[in-house]
Protein backbone atom coordinates (compact mmCIF):
# COMPACT_ATOMS: atom_id res chain seq x y z
CA UNK A 1 0.00 0.00 0.00
CA UNK A 2 2.75 2.44 0.86
CA UNK A 3 6.39 2.61 -0.12
CA UNK A 4 8.99 3.63 2.42
CA UNK A 5 10.20 7.20 2.04
CA UNK A 6 13.80 8.41 2.07
CA UNK A 7 14.47 10.64 5.07
CA UNK A 8 16.39 13.82 4.35
CA UNK A 9 16.70 17.15 6.11
CA UNK A 10 14.00 18.87 4.10
CA UNK A 11 10.41 18.86 5.22
CA UNK A 12 8.76 16.68 2.55
CA UNK A 13 5.33 17.36 1.20
CA UNK A 14 2.98 15.78 -1.30
CA UNK A 15 0.06 17.00 -3.31
CA UNK A 16 -2.70 16.17 -5.74
CA UNK A 17 -1.87 13.89 -8.67
CA UNK A 18 -3.60 13.22 -11.97
CA UNK A 19 -5.89 15.24 -14.16
CA UNK A 20 -6.79 17.94 -11.67
CA UNK A 21 -3.19 19.11 -11.67
CA UNK A 22 -3.12 19.83 -15.39
CA UNK A 23 -5.59 22.67 -14.87
CA UNK A 24 -2.96 24.74 -13.10
CA UNK A 25 -2.24 27.14 -15.92
CA UNK A 26 -1.52 30.78 -15.10
CA UNK A 27 -4.57 32.20 -16.86
CA UNK A 28 -7.02 29.89 -15.10
CA UNK A 29 -7.78 31.97 -12.01
CA UNK A 30 -11.40 30.95 -12.07
CA UNK A 31 -10.53 27.30 -12.37
CA UNK A 32 -8.23 27.45 -9.35
CA UNK A 33 -10.99 29.17 -7.39
CA UNK A 34 -13.38 26.44 -8.42
CA UNK A 35 -10.91 23.84 -7.18
CA UNK A 36 -11.28 25.31 -3.70
CA UNK A 37 -15.00 24.68 -3.64
CA UNK A 38 -16.31 21.55 -1.94
CA UNK A 39 -16.00 18.27 -3.76
CA UNK A 40 -19.22 16.43 -4.55
CA UNK A 41 -20.56 13.11 -3.29
CA UNK A 42 -20.88 10.46 -5.96
CA UNK A 43 -17.78 11.75 -7.74
CA UNK A 44 -14.21 10.48 -7.77
CA UNK A 45 -12.08 11.44 -4.80
CA UNK A 46 -9.15 13.57 -6.03
CA UNK A 47 -6.02 11.43 -6.04
CA UNK A 48 -2.95 12.57 -4.11
CA UNK A 49 0.43 11.46 -2.82
CA UNK A 50 1.43 12.41 0.71
CA UNK A 51 4.38 11.56 2.94
CA UNK A 52 3.53 10.20 6.34
CA UNK A 53 4.42 8.18 9.39
CA UNK A 54 3.14 4.62 9.73
CA UNK A 55 4.13 2.06 12.37
CA UNK A 56 7.70 3.20 12.88
CA UNK A 57 8.53 4.13 9.29
CA UNK A 58 8.26 7.15 7.03
CA UNK A 59 6.16 6.28 3.98
CA UNK A 60 4.71 7.80 0.83
CA UNK A 61 1.00 7.08 0.49
CA UNK A 62 -0.98 7.37 -2.74
CA UNK A 63 -4.76 7.38 -2.39
CA UNK A 64 -5.32 5.40 -5.61
CA UNK A 65 -3.22 2.53 -4.22
CA UNK A 66 -6.22 1.82 -1.97
CA UNK A 67 -8.65 1.19 -4.85
CA UNK A 68 -10.59 -1.97 -3.96
CA UNK A 69 -10.77 -1.00 -0.28
CA UNK A 70 -12.95 1.36 1.70
CA UNK A 71 -11.02 4.45 2.80
CA UNK A 72 -11.71 6.91 5.60
CA UNK A 73 -9.78 10.10 4.89
CA UNK A 74 -9.65 12.39 7.93
CA UNK A 75 -8.27 15.91 8.14
CA UNK A 76 -7.64 17.67 11.44
CA UNK A 77 -6.22 21.07 12.46
CA UNK A 78 -2.98 19.88 13.97
CA UNK A 79 -1.00 17.33 15.94
CA UNK A 80 -1.37 17.52 19.74
CA UNK A 81 -5.02 18.54 19.32
CA UNK A 82 -7.93 16.12 19.59
CA UNK A 83 -9.21 14.50 16.41
Amino acid sequence: MAEEAAVGCARPTGGPVGEENKNETPQSHEISKEEQSMIKVGQKAPDFIAPGYHKGAFVNVKLSDFLGKWVLLCFYPGDFTFV
Partner: protein, 132 residues
Protein backbone atom coordinates in the same frame (compact mmCIF):
# COMPACT_ATOMS: atom_id res chain seq x y z
CA UNK B 1 -3.89 14.15 7.50
CA UNK B 2 -2.81 17.56 8.75
CA UNK B 3 -0.36 20.31 7.79
CA UNK B 4 2.15 18.93 10.31
CA UNK B 5 5.29 17.26 8.97
CA UNK B 6 5.76 13.49 9.21
CA UNK B 7 8.44 14.19 11.81
CA UNK B 8 5.90 15.90 14.08
CA UNK B 9 3.47 13.02 13.41
CA UNK B 10 6.16 10.63 14.69
CA UNK B 11 6.68 12.67 17.86
CA UNK B 12 2.95 12.93 18.52
CA UNK B 13 2.46 9.19 18.00
CA UNK B 14 5.50 8.14 20.00
CA UNK B 15 5.06 10.55 22.91
CA UNK B 16 1.30 10.90 23.32
CA UNK B 17 -0.90 8.69 21.13
CA UNK B 18 0.93 5.51 22.09
CA UNK B 19 -0.34 6.13 25.63
CA UNK B 20 -3.92 6.14 24.29
CA UNK B 21 -3.71 3.34 21.69
CA UNK B 22 -1.59 0.27 22.36
CA UNK B 23 1.03 -0.03 19.63
CA UNK B 24 0.38 3.48 18.38
CA UNK B 25 -1.76 4.73 15.51
CA UNK B 26 -2.49 1.72 13.24
CA UNK B 27 -3.06 3.73 10.05
CA UNK B 28 -0.79 6.15 8.11
CA UNK B 29 -0.57 9.67 9.57
CA UNK B 30 -0.21 11.82 6.45
CA UNK B 31 1.42 15.21 6.01
CA UNK B 32 -0.14 17.93 3.88
CA UNK B 33 2.37 20.73 4.48
CA UNK B 34 1.11 23.70 2.48
CA UNK B 35 -2.46 22.44 2.46
CA UNK B 36 -2.47 21.44 -1.22
CA UNK B 37 -4.50 18.28 -0.71
CA UNK B 38 -6.77 20.00 1.81
CA UNK B 39 -7.44 22.75 -0.71
CA UNK B 40 -8.60 20.23 -3.33
CA UNK B 41 -10.88 18.63 -0.72
CA UNK B 42 -12.23 22.02 0.39
CA UNK B 43 -11.08 21.76 4.02
CA UNK B 44 -7.98 23.99 4.04
CA UNK B 45 -8.41 27.37 5.73
CA UNK B 46 -5.88 29.67 4.08
CA UNK B 47 -6.19 32.38 6.74
CA UNK B 48 -5.60 30.06 9.68
CA UNK B 49 -3.15 27.88 7.75
CA UNK B 50 -4.78 24.69 9.06
CA UNK B 51 -7.33 22.13 7.94
CA UNK B 52 -10.86 21.72 9.29
CA UNK B 53 -12.05 18.43 10.76
CA UNK B 54 -13.02 16.88 7.42
CA UNK B 55 -13.93 13.21 7.11
CA UNK B 56 -14.48 11.54 3.74
CA UNK B 57 -15.85 8.04 3.08
CA UNK B 58 -14.33 6.76 -0.16
CA UNK B 59 -15.62 3.49 -1.67
CA UNK B 60 -13.55 0.74 -3.38
CA UNK B 61 -14.04 2.48 -6.76
CA UNK B 62 -12.48 5.67 -5.37
CA UNK B 63 -15.82 7.49 -5.26
CA UNK B 64 -16.67 9.85 -2.40
CA UNK B 65 -19.87 8.52 -0.82
CA UNK B 66 -20.10 11.01 2.02
CA UNK B 67 -18.27 13.64 4.01
CA UNK B 68 -18.54 15.72 7.14
CA UNK B 69 -16.60 18.90 7.88
CA UNK B 70 -16.47 20.59 11.29
CA UNK B 71 -14.65 23.67 12.53
CA UNK B 72 -11.79 22.89 14.95
CA UNK B 73 -13.49 23.28 18.38
CA UNK B 74 -15.94 20.37 17.91
CA UNK B 75 -14.75 16.77 17.62
CA UNK B 76 -16.26 14.02 15.51
CA UNK B 77 -18.49 11.08 16.40
CA UNK B 78 -16.64 7.94 15.39
CA UNK B 79 -19.73 5.74 15.92
CA UNK B 80 -21.67 7.77 13.36
CA UNK B 81 -18.82 7.40 10.89
CA UNK B 82 -18.85 3.61 11.36
CA UNK B 83 -22.65 3.55 11.03
CA UNK B 84 -22.47 5.38 7.71
CA UNK B 85 -19.63 3.15 6.52
CA UNK B 86 -21.67 0.01 7.36
CA UNK B 87 -24.70 1.49 5.60
CA UNK B 88 -22.75 2.26 2.43
CA UNK B 89 -21.24 -1.22 2.51
CA UNK B 90 -24.70 -2.80 2.80
CA UNK B 91 -26.03 -0.75 -0.12
CA UNK B 92 -23.01 -1.76 -2.19
CA UNK B 93 -23.32 -5.46 -1.28
CA UNK B 94 -26.98 -5.48 -2.33
CA UNK B 95 -26.11 -3.54 -5.50
CA UNK B 96 -28.60 -0.86 -4.49
CA UNK B 97 -31.52 -3.28 -3.99
CA UNK B 98 -31.65 -2.16 -0.35
CA UNK B 99 -31.46 1.33 1.11
CA UNK B 100 -30.95 2.39 4.71
CA UNK B 101 -33.60 4.85 5.96
CA UNK B 102 -33.07 7.55 8.58
CA UNK B 103 -31.93 6.14 11.90
CA UNK B 104 -30.79 2.84 10.40
CA UNK B 105 -28.37 0.81 12.47
CA UNK B 106 -26.86 -2.60 11.62
CA UNK B 107 -29.62 -5.17 12.15
CA UNK B 108 -32.45 -2.72 11.67
CA UNK B 109 -34.85 -2.91 8.77
CA UNK B 110 -33.80 -1.66 5.35
CA UNK B 111 -36.04 -0.42 2.55
CA UNK B 112 -36.27 -2.01 -0.90
CA UNK B 113 -36.73 0.86 -3.34
CA UNK B 114 -39.14 0.14 -6.16
CA UNK B 115 -42.61 0.82 -7.48
CA UNK B 116 -44.25 -1.11 -4.64
CA UNK B 117 -42.65 1.16 -2.05
CA UNK B 118 -44.11 4.36 -3.49
CA UNK B 119 -46.52 5.76 -0.91
CA UNK B 120 -45.93 2.76 1.33
CA UNK B 121 -42.89 3.86 3.32
CA UNK B 122 -45.22 4.64 6.25
CA UNK B 123 -45.90 0.91 6.55
CA UNK B 124 -42.22 -0.01 6.55
CA UNK B 125 -40.76 2.81 8.62
CA UNK B 126 -42.01 4.69 11.70
CA UNK B 127 -40.79 8.07 12.90
CA UNK B 128 -39.57 6.35 16.08
CA UNK B 129 -37.11 4.43 13.83
CA UNK B 130 -35.27 7.71 13.30
CA UNK B 131 -34.21 7.71 16.95
CA UNK B 132 -32.43 5.33 19.35
Amino acid sequence: MSIDSMFVHKMWNDHELEHMVKGGVPYPMLSDAGGKVGTVYGVYDENAGVEARGRFIIDPDGVVQGYEVLTPPVGRNVNETFRQLQAFQLVRETKGAEATPSGWQPGKRTLKPGINLVGMVWKEWKTTDAFD
